[in-house]
Amino acid sequence: MRPGLILSWALITLVALWALVPGVFTGYDPIAGTPAEKLRAPGPGHLFGTDAVGRDLFARVVHGAVHSLSGAFVAVAVGLLLGTLLGLVAGSVRGALDEIVMRVVDVLLSVPGLLLALTVIILLGPGTVNVAVAVGVGSVASFARLARSEVVRVRRTDYVEAAFGSGGRFAAVLWRHVLPNSLVPVVALAALQFGVAILAISTLGFLGYGAEPPTPEWGLLISEGRNYLATAWWLTTLPGTVVVAVVLAASRISRSIGREDG
């Protein structure tokens, strides 16, 4: 494993721990602030500084991890399950069903992800779960297309033909050979989409469609910090840096999946 990859796994593990046991990493309350300590610059007492009502920014970032991560999980789960199922069915059955599914995918791909998410939000209304579902719906098409092309590719290989030739039934060959061999790139896409989902969720949070204040969701944190651009740079810069680091780590891990040397 290469150093960059180890770093990426370490970062993802750290953020996952923030989401699971935030209390271990910070003693400050993410919601209730100490007005006397408002707008402190980053320093020993407050690693990321404090905001306008004196809340510790690091505590808010740590406690916000659970919102971003669970949202990303829901989004990836929606896209992965729905998209992969569609792609697998289209790729293994072929024929008219394949045509219909792929035309639907074309339509979904023709609308930008954010607009698709906004359409879902206008229907379901704002909120953390709705935002996650909306982002997930936006990725269904990519998963479906990748899964289908992988299934079609694997089905053309000699080893799948050989499996039929040695007496394999359709379902057995699909389960034993086609599925495992076509899923690796899909899993890699899921890792990549995890980062993309964190980006999209924070964008929708920034636009005000996700969690309500004072929830410490990452996008919302940055949005709130906008009012203090001139005086408190850390309120926007530091949460944003965390987002960038997590997304970078996810894409690095995604690239390592399915490769021997990482």
Binding site: R2, Y159, A163, G165, G167
Partner: protein
């Protein structure tokens, strides 16, 4: 003074390690040889011998991770080994030409071939636009392409493999270099095309006195075409000298082994149906009785029609043949002859348009579902490419066990036992059981594929170019294994191949295919000693190395 003299050439490949360290793996160690003006020197070896790396080093075009560690490359007495790339650019094309390995991908797909030939002249500023265009047409005509003006405007994909190789030769000779490096120039081509391309290179050489450094894996080609020979193995020279002398009386054990294994050069006794290779005959009566019984495979009037752009195209056009039990029948032909499609229809992996196939007396047409699966117990296929026909995610044990599971043969323990037996049968150690295909060598993979084919206890095994992708020494081992299995298990083989030399060695009967039809069928002896059809004669004449046998020359063994 020699035209080219290579002294103590040492090349290694570097690889970045997991932690960023750089490892060097030597590929060529202390290789020395010389090429005199106008002569052909063949560098022969199996894959990994360093023969191509040596050629690349001479022209200064090692892959990015290749490194010239030492030695001299004297071109006309000047050492160019230490030259900068910029200085080497003046030598490439002008003094050394290159004919590459793979005509399919060696031309830029988005430029007309005329432009690509003219580029060599442009780079070295030989004339203006008009004189270059004129010279391009001349060159195309010289390398034997009809309608050179039209060809010059065509793109590579519009030309056949042989025509593309002619274009590449035109590029190599455009500036009349003193040396041409031909790296496996005909390995990707059909034998009859191969012969014409090698003839062309010979003609050009005779005409202009250009020397040729011919890199090849094919001892037959080297024997027919070279004046002197360099035999390489694992990056070192095993033996070198005049071609006749080396092949007549090889000094190195490795050369002798190569000679023994090269199918074109070993001319064993013909197999005949009467002497079907079976020892299972003890229970089934004598070999003659065996052969007189119902044939294992009967193919009648097989047709496969495809629709290409609204027009029906017959890939297989009325093919009929029979294979007696316990014998090997070969389907021979060049690419596009329909031999593989025929094999796939025998396996019922492709649906025939019309005609019939019977395996062991059972008609296969229209058989579906459970009966088709039952049929597949009797007929199994071994593919050409052992890299593609084994699931990369399965272990060897799972691969070989799979047919047993599919057919519900035996319980878990019984199946494991049978898998061990099968691996033993194909001479693989039990240690490979847990390995995945990528951890095995090409020959080992093909043994696994054979073990899988044997697992359900088939009567007929279809071998689709099953040894074509292997080095000669590995090829010889697999062929020996196949012969042994046939004798022990009474198997019937349908052997699909483009390689007449291999076919001669392993088959009892042969059908020669061309353009979807069988042009000639007969016993192997009759076909090789007394070919009836003009196409069969052309094929036989094109096999490299046979020219010497026909001339009655004794080949060292």
């Amino acid at each position: 003074m020699s035209l080219l003299e290579v002294r103590d050439l040492t090349v290694s490949y570097t690889r970045r390690g997991r932690w960023g360290g750089v490892h060097a793996r030597p590929a060529v160690h202390g290789v020395s040889f010389a090429v005199e003006p106008g002569e052909v020197v063949a560098v022969v070896g199996e894959s990994g011998s360093g023969k191509t790396t040596t050629a690349q080093a001479v022209i200064g075009l090692l892959p990015p991770n290749g490194r010239l560690d030492g030695g001299q490359i004297l071109l006309g007495g000047t050492d160019i080994a230490g030259w900068s790339q910029r200085r080497l650019q003046t030598v490439r094309g002008a003094q050394i030409g290159l004919v590459p390995q793979d005509p399919a991908n060696s031309l830029n797909p988005v430029k007309p071939v005329g432009v690509q030939i003219g580029e060599a002249l442009r780079l070295h500023r030989r004339g203006d636009r008009r004189t270059i265009a004129h010279r391009v047409v001349e060159l195309l005509e010289r390398v034997g392409l009809p309608d050179p003006e039209v060809r010059a405007r065509q793109y590579p994909h519009e030309l056949s493999g042989g025509m593309r190789q002619r274009v590449l030769i035109a590029i190599a000779v455009a500036l009349e270099p003193r040396l041409i490096i031909a790296d496996e120039p005909t390995s990707a081509l059909d034998v009859t095309v191969q012969r014409r391309i090698l003839d062309l290179i010979d003609d050009l050489r005779a005409e202009s006195g250009t020397a040729v450094l011919l890199v090849t894996h094919d001892l037959g080609v080297a024997m027919d075409r070279s004046d002197r020979l360099v035999v390489m193995k694992d990056g070192r020279i095993e033996e070198r000298g005049a071609t006749r002398a080396v092949l007549g009386a090889p000094q190195a054990a490795y050369t002798a082994r190569l000679l023994r294994d090269a199918p074109a050069l070993r001319a064993p006794e013909f197999l005949s149906v009467g002497t079907a290779r079976t020892t299972a005959g003890a229970t089934a009566g004598t070999a003659a009785e065996e052969a007189s019984r119902e044939p294992a495979v009967v193919v009648r009037d097989l047709v496969k029609e495809y629709r290409a752009g609204g027009r029906p195209f017959r890939a297989v056009d009325g093919v009929s043949f029979e294979v007696p039990r316990g014998t090997t029948h070969a389907l021979v032909g060049e690419s596009g002859s329909g031999k593989t499609t025929t094999a796939r229809m025998v396996m019922r992996l492709a649906e025939p348009t019309s005609g019939s196939v019977a395996i062991g007396g059972v008609e296969t047409a229209g058989v579906r579902g459970a009966r088709l699966r039952a049929l597949r117990r009797d007929v199994q296929l071994v593919y050409q490419n052992p890299y593609g026909s084994l699931d990369p995610r399965q272990s060897v044990a799972d691969i070989v066990e799979e047919p047993l599971r599919n057919f519900g043969l035996g319980d878990r323990a019984g199946r494991r036992e049978r898998v061990r037996d099968l691996l033993d049968r194909v001479a693989l150690p039990a240690a490979v059981l847990g390995r995945r295909p990528r951890e095995l060598s090409g020959g080992q993979r093909q043994r696994v594929a054979i073990a899988r084919a044997l697992a359900p206890g088939p009567k007929v095994v279809v071998l689709d170019e099953a040894v074509s992708a292997l080095d000669v020494s590995v090829q010889a081992q697999i062929l020996d294994l196949l012969g042994e299995l046939q004798r022990d298990l009474g198997l019937t083989y349908l052997f699909i191949s483009h390689d007449l030399a291999v076919v001669r060695q392993v088959s009892h009967t042969v059908s020669v295919m061309s353009k979807g039809r069988i042009v000639e069928t007969g016993t192997t002896r009759r076909l090789f000693e007394n070919p009836g059809h003009a196409y069969t004669r052309a094929l036989l004449a094109a096999v490299p190395g046979t020219a010497h046998q026909l001339a009655g020359q004794e080949v060292g063994r």
